[in-house]
C-alpha cells in the first residue's frame, strides 16, 4: 500500500561534506548529527550538554548557518556542507575569532567555547560591527556558566575592532 504511494524513503547512507572533506556513512537516517560527529567520526570538539537545543554547546555550521547539531538528524544533512569547530581554522592556524578568545580569555572551563566560537564567527560574518542587541540575538542560545559572558564580550569586541574575517597566515 505504501509502495503504491510512490513515496521516497530517506537513505540509510549519509553523504555530505564535513570540514571540507566528503563523508559517506552508513547510518540510520534519524541518528543525531551530534552523535555522528562525536561517536562515529571522533570529532569531539562539538559538545553534548542539554541535547534539546537550549544551550548551544553542540553548535555547528550547516551551509554556513549556525544550527544545533543535537536537533539535527542525518537525513537533514544529505548534500550539505557542515563545519565544526575543528574545521573553522586553516590547517595548523587559528581563526581570528579563536585568536581573540585566546587573548582576551573568553573562556574558563572551555566546554561552551567551541559552540560559542562557531556562533560568534557566524555572527561576525553576517554583521561585522554588531550592536549589543544583535550580539544578544545571535548568542542567547549559547549558554556559558563560567564567565558571566564578560570575557566573551571582550573577545567579540576585540574581533570587531580587528575587523574582517580574513584568515591570518
Amino acid at each position: 500500500m505504501i509502495d503504491k504511494l510512490a513515496a521516497k524513503q530517506a537513505d540509510a547512507k549519509l553523504q555530505c561534506e564535513i570540514n571540507g572533506s566528503p563523508v559517506t556513512l552508513e547510518t540510520p537516517p534519524t541518528r543525531k548529527l551530534l552523535q555522528i560527529l562525536r561517536d562515529d567520526l571522533g570529532l569531539t570538539g562539538t559538545k553534548r550538554s542539554c541535547e534539546i537545543g537550549r544551550c548551544g554547546a553542540c553548535m555547528v555550521l550547516i551551509d554556513g548557518k549556525p544550527v544545533n547539531s543535537c536537533l539535527t538528524m542525518a537525513y537533514q544533512c544529505t548534500g550539505k556542507s557542515i563545519t565544526t569547530i575543528e574545521g573553522l581554522a586553516p590547517e595548523g592556524g587559528l581563526h581570528p575569532v579563536q585568536q581573540c578568545f585566546l587573548e582576551e580569555g573568553g573562556y574558563q572551563c572551555g566546554y561552551c567555547t567551541p559552540g560559542m566560537i562557531v556562533s560568534v564567527t557566524s555572527l561576525l560574518e553576517r554583521s561585522p560591527k554588531p550592536s549589543m542587541e544583535e550580539i544578544e540575538e545571535a548568542l542567547s542560545g549559547n549558554l556559558c556558566r563560567c564567565t558571566g559572558y564578560g570575557g566573551i564580550l571582550r573577545s567579540i569586541s576585540r574581533a570587531i575592532e580587528r575587523g574582517g574575517m580574513a584568515h591570518e597566515g
Partner: protein, 797 residues
C-alpha cells in the same frame, strides 16, 4: 585600579590550556573512548519514596549485546558513598529515597541497547509517603527516612543573653528569607571512561574535585586497595562544587570490572538534573535588634536546610551557614539554631559559596531593613557595626588580621557606580518633576574593549527610563566576609612537588583539578613569577592520582592559595638544589648563577649558561622538592570556624519594569580584598562568573520540585542567565594590600563573587520600588504594579 587586560600589562597571559579549548582539540574526560568499549547506564527510581519489593534482571540480561546488569548484590565492598558520611547507597537495597536513587546499572554494546536493557529491568515498588517539607520532616510523627531520624545535623551557637539584648533594642526587625534550589548547571555533565587495565588495576577517567578522595571511596566500594585504582580527573567542563562527591564513578567502576572491558557513561542533561546535587534550599528566620545609634545588640537566627535524603556535605554546609549568618558584624548577643533535614526531595550538596550565599542574603537583608527603620544610609549602618582590625572572627575565634573589611567598605562610595548614584540623587532632589539629563559615567569609556558595547546598551536603558514611567532605577550594596578553607575539624592538607624531569622539563605536580577556575594558568603564572622560568620550561601535572602528591581538595577557595604557599615553601630549596648541581657542572660559584628562562643563567648578565635538559642529564639523581602542610586553621575547637577570609563590597544598579515585575541588572561594582592577585585574567573571570551565578540565584533559577518530583527537568525550564541577562557593565577592583608580615599570601576568590550580589539586588529593588523581597528567585508578581497611566485620576503626560 579596575582589573582588566590593560591594567594588568604583561601579567595578562594566554592560558596554557587555551589553545585546546578554542580549537576544540582539548579532550574532556567525557570525550574519551576506548577500543572494545561498552556503554553504561544507571536505572534510577521513578519515585521519590518507595520500598523495593523485588528487582528482576533476567529479561535485561537475556538481551544480546548486554554484558552486565548489576544491583546491590554485586557490590563487593561498602555499598555506600559520601565524602563526610557515607550513607548514600550505591545501589538501593530495600528503599529508594529520591528520584535519582540508583537501583541497577547495565553495560551494553551501544547506548541504545543499554536503554533497551534498562527498560527490561523490572522493579516492584511499594509507595511510601513523600516527605517534601523540611519543617514537617522535623516533626516526630513524620515518616522517618533513616534509622537516626530526619535531622541530618544540628548546629547551635549562643553567646550572651539575646532576650536581654532585644529588650534593650530601640529597633527590631524580623523576617524569614528563602533561597532557591539552585543547580550548578556545569556545561559538561557527569560521566567518564572506566578502564580495567591488563595489570589488574582500574583507571577511572572521571571528573572530581578531589582525586584522592574518590580513590578512597572507590576502594571502599570495590573492596580493593587504593593502589589498584588510578583517578584521572582533569580537565573538567565546569563543576562549581557539584562534581566533588561521587556520581557515576561507582557504576562505571563496577561495570568495567564486571565486564573486564572499558565502560563509558555520560549523563544526559535530564539525568544530570534528576540525580545531581543542588544548592541547599534554606529558610532562614532572623530577628535583629539595634540601639538608637544603630549599634547591633541582638541577633537571633533559625536556619532550616533541606538536605535531600543523604548526607554528602550537608552538615558542613550548615556549619558554614551558621558562621556566615554572623559574618563581619559585632553583636552584644547572638543565638543561632540550625537544622539540616532529610527529605525525599532532590539531593543537596556542595555548591560554590557553600551556605554563605543563603546566609548573606538573610544577614544583609536584616541590615538594610534596620537602616530603613533607623532612617540612616545602609552603608553607614555597616560601618557602625563592622569588625575592626584585631577583632576576632564570627565565633570569637582568632583569625588572620587584615584591613580588608575597612578597605572594601571604603571602596564602594569611591566607585564610579556609587558616584553616579550620588549624582542621580542630587539631580533628582534639585528638580524632582522634570526629567533629568542622563548622569554621564565618570570613568572614560573604552577602557575595556567591551565597555562601549555594554554601556551603549545601558545608555539605551537610561534613555528609555527617562521616558517610560514604569521603569524604575535603584541602587543597592552588600558587604561580604567569606571564609576559605575547610575550617576547624576537617582535615585540610596541602602540598606540592617540583621536579626537574629527565627530559629537562620543570614538572610541577599538585593534587588539584582544573575545572575552569584557571588553576593551571595560575600555577604557570606563579612558577614564572616566583622562579623566573619560561612557560615552555614547564610541565604542569594535576588531576592524576598516580602522579600527584596530596594537596587536599580543589574546593573552598583554597587551591590557588595553597599552591602559592607550597611554591613559597619550595622556592628556596628547589632553586638551591638546581643551582647547586649547576654550580658543580659549570664550575662556577652558586652566587654567580640564577634561575632563568630555558635554563640556569648568569646572575649578572642574564646569559643562559646551562639548559635545564642538560642540567637534568648531569644530575646524579633527580632533583626534586616536595612540601606538605595544612591550610591554616584557627586554634579553637568550634567545628567549621575559619581563619582566612576574603572581604568584598558589592554595588549594583538595577532597573525594575513594573509592568512585568522583572528586574534587570544594569551595572555592578565588586571590590575584593584578597591579597595579591595571582592571575589577573583568572581573578576577573572568577568574580564575573561568580556574579553571574548569583544573578541567576537572584532572578531566574530554581529547580522547582513538587512532592519530590522535579518540574524543571532541563534547560528549557531551568533558566540560567543568557548573555542578554548580562548586558550591564561589571567592574572589579582588587585590593591587594596585606599587613606587613602577613605570610598567608593570596586569599581565595573562587566563591566570593557568587555570594554578595543577591542582597545588593534586593536592596536596589527596594530603592527602586519600595518593596522588600525575602524570597529568591525574586517573584516578579511581587514587584508588578498597575501603572499610573491607567490609574484613576492620573494625568496623561
Amino acid at each position: 585600579m579596575a582589573l582588566n587586560r590593560e591594567t594588568s600589562g604583561n601579567r595578562w597571559r594566554i592560558r596554557p590550556d587555551g589553545p585546546g579549548k578554542v580549537t576544540g582539540g582539548l579532550a574532556y574526560l567525557t570525550d574519551l573512548s576506548a577500543p572494545n568499549m561498552l556503554h553504561g547506564l544507571v536505572l534510577r527510581s521513578p519515585h521519590a519514596h518507595a520500598r523495593i519489593a523485588e528487582v528482576r534482571t533476567e529479561e535485561a540480561l537475556a538481551l544480546p549485546g548486554v554484558h552486565a546488569v548489576l544491583t546491590h548484590a554485586d557490590v563487593p565492598g561498602l555499598n555506600r558513598f559520601g565524602i563526610a558520611h557515607p550513607d548514600h547507597p550505591v545501589f538501593c537495597e530495600e528503599r529508594v529515597r529520591f528520584v535519582g536513587d540508583a537501583v541497577a546499572a547495565v553495560a551494553a554494546d551501544s547506548a541504545e541497547l543499554a536503554m533497551e536493557a534498562l527498560a527490561r529491568i523490572e522493579v516492584d515498588y511499594e509507595y511510601l509517603p513523600v516527605v517534601s517539607d523540611p519543617e514537617l520532616a522535623m516533626r516526630e510523627d513524620a515518616p522517618q527516612l533513616h534509622e537516626r531520624g530526619n535531622i541530618q545535623h544540628r548546629n547551635d551557637y549562643v553567646r550572651g543573653d539575646v532576650e536581654a539584648a532585644f529588650a534593650a533594642s530601640a529597633h527590631i526587625v524580623e523576617d524569614t528569607y528563602e533561597t532557591p534550589r539552585q543547580m550548578h548547571t556545569y556545561m559538561e555533565t557527569e560521566g567518564g571512561l572506566f578502564v580495567p587495565e591488563a595489570d589488574g588495576r582500574l583507571t577511572v577517567y572521571s571528573a572530581t574535585q578531589h582525586g584522592l578522595m574518590d580513590r578512597m571511596q572507590l576502594a571502599r566500594i570495590l573492596a580493593r586497595p587504593e593502589a589498584d585504582i588510578r583517578i584521572v580527573s582533569s580537565p573538567i567542563g565546569g563543576s562549581f562544587g557539584g562534581k566533588d562527591e561521587l556520581n557515576v564513578q561507582p557504576y562505571g567502576a563496577l561495570l568495567a570490572l564486571a565486564c573486564g572491558r572499558p565502560v563509558k557513561l555520560h549523563n544526559n542533561r535530564f539525568e544530570s538534573v534528576r540525580a545531581g546535587l543542588k544548592r541547599h534550599p534554606m529558610r532562614i528566620t532572623m530577628k535583629t535588634g539595634v540601639d538608637a545609634g544603630g549599634k547591633l545588640l541582638a541577633h537571633r537566627v533559625r536556619i532550616v536546610s533541606d538536605a535531600g535524603p543523604y548526607s554528602t556535605l550537608s552538615a558542613e554546609v550548615l556549619n558554614f551557614a551558621v558562621e556566615h549568618t554572623l559574618g563581619a558584624y559585632r553583636y552584644e548577643a547572638v543565638e543561632v539554631r540550625s537544622f539540616c533535614v532529610f527529605t525525599n526531595n532532590g539531593m543537596s550538596g556542595e555548591f560554590r559559596g557553600f551556605g554563605g550565599n543563603q546566609a548573606l542574603f538573610a544577614l544583609e537583608g536584616q541590615l538594610d531593613r534596620l537602616a530603613d527603620k533607623l532612617g540612616i544610609d545602609p552603608w553607614e549602618l555597616r560601618r557602625r557595626n563592622l569588625r575592626q582590625r584585631g577583632d576576632p572572627g564570627p565565633f570569637e575565634q582568632p583569625i588572620a588580621q587584615t584591613d580588608g573589611a575597612r578597605q572594601v567598605w571604603e571602596a564602594l562610595p569611591a566607585s564610579r557606580l556609587w558616584l553616579e548614584r550620588a549624582e542621580a540623587a542630587a539631580a533628582a532632589e534639585a528638580a524632582p518633576a522634570a526629567p533629568t539629563a542622563s548622569a554621564a559615567p565618570a570613568a572614560p569609556l573604552g577602557m575595556t574593549p567591551d565597555a562601549d558595547l555594554r554601556s551603549a546598551s545601558s545608555g539605551t536603558a537610561e534613555a528609555a527610563t527617562l521616558q517610560l514611567p514604569w521603569l524604575k532605577i535603584g541602587y543597592g550594596a552588600s558587604f561580604v566576609m567569606h571564609g576559605a578553607g575547610l575550617g576547624v575539624g576537617i582535615p585540610d592538607p596541602a602540598g606540592g612537588r617540583l621536579t626537574l624531569a629527565p627530559d629537562g622539563k620543570i614538572e610541577a605536580a599538585f593534587g588539584y583539578e582544573e575545572f575552569g577556575q584557571g588553576l593551571i594558568a595560575s600555577l604557570e603564572q606563579m612558577l614564572i613569577e616566583k622562579f623566573g622560568f619560561a612557560g615552555s620550561d614547564l610541565r604542569l601535572v594535576v588531576g592524576d592520582t598516580d602522579a600527584v602528591p596530596d594537596s587536599g581538595s580543589s574546593t573552598a577557595s583554597r587551591a590557588t592559595s595553597m599552591m602559592w604557599q607550597a611554591l613559597e615553601r619550595m622556592r628556596e630549596p628547589f632553586a638551591h638544589s638546581l643551582l647547586q648541581v649547576a654550580s658543580r657542572v659549570l664550575v662556577l660559584p652558586k652566587e654567580r648563577l640564577r634561575i632563568g628562562e630555558g635554563g640556569v643563567c648568569d646572575a649578572a648578565s642574564g646569559e643562559r649558561l646551562l639548559a635545564y635538559r642538560e642540567l637534568a642529564q648531569s644530575a646524579a639523581e633527580p632533583i626534586a622538592c616536595e612540601t606538605s602542610f595544612s591550610y591554616p586553621a584557627s586554634p579553637v575547637e568550634r567545628v567549621g570556624a575559619h581563619y582566612l577570609y576574603t572581604y568584598c563590597s558589592v554595588g549594583v544598579k538595577v532597573e525594575v519594569n513594573t509592568l512585568t515585575g522583572r528586574v534587570r541588572v544594569l551595572d555592578q561594582f565588586h571590590a575584593v580584598a584578597a591579597g595579591p592577585v595571582v592571575n589577573p585574567q583568572g581573578f576577573l573571570g572568577q568574580i564575573e562568573g561568580g556574579a553571574s551565578m548569583a544573578l541567576g540565584f537572584t532572578l531566574t533559577e530554581d529547580a522547582v520540585m513538587n512532592s519530590g518530583m522535579y518540574l524543571t527537568r532541563n534547560l528549557d525550564s531551568y533558566l540560567v542567565p543568557t548573555i542578554a541577562e548580562q548586558r550591564g557593565r561589571v567592574e572589579v577592583l582588587p585590593i591587594e594590600e596585606l599587613p606587613d608580615g602577613d605570610a598567608h599570601g593570596p586569599r581565595g576568590i573562587g566563591e566570593v563573587g557568587s555570594v554578595g550580589l543577591a542582597p545588593a539586588i534586593a536592596q536596589a529593588v527596594f530603592n527602586a520600588v519600595g518593596k522588600r523581597v525575602s524570597k529568591l528567585p525574586i517573584d516578579p508578581a511581587e514587584l508588578q504594579e498597575v501603572p499610573d497611566i491607567v490609574k484613576e485620576g492620573s494625568c496623561p503626560v
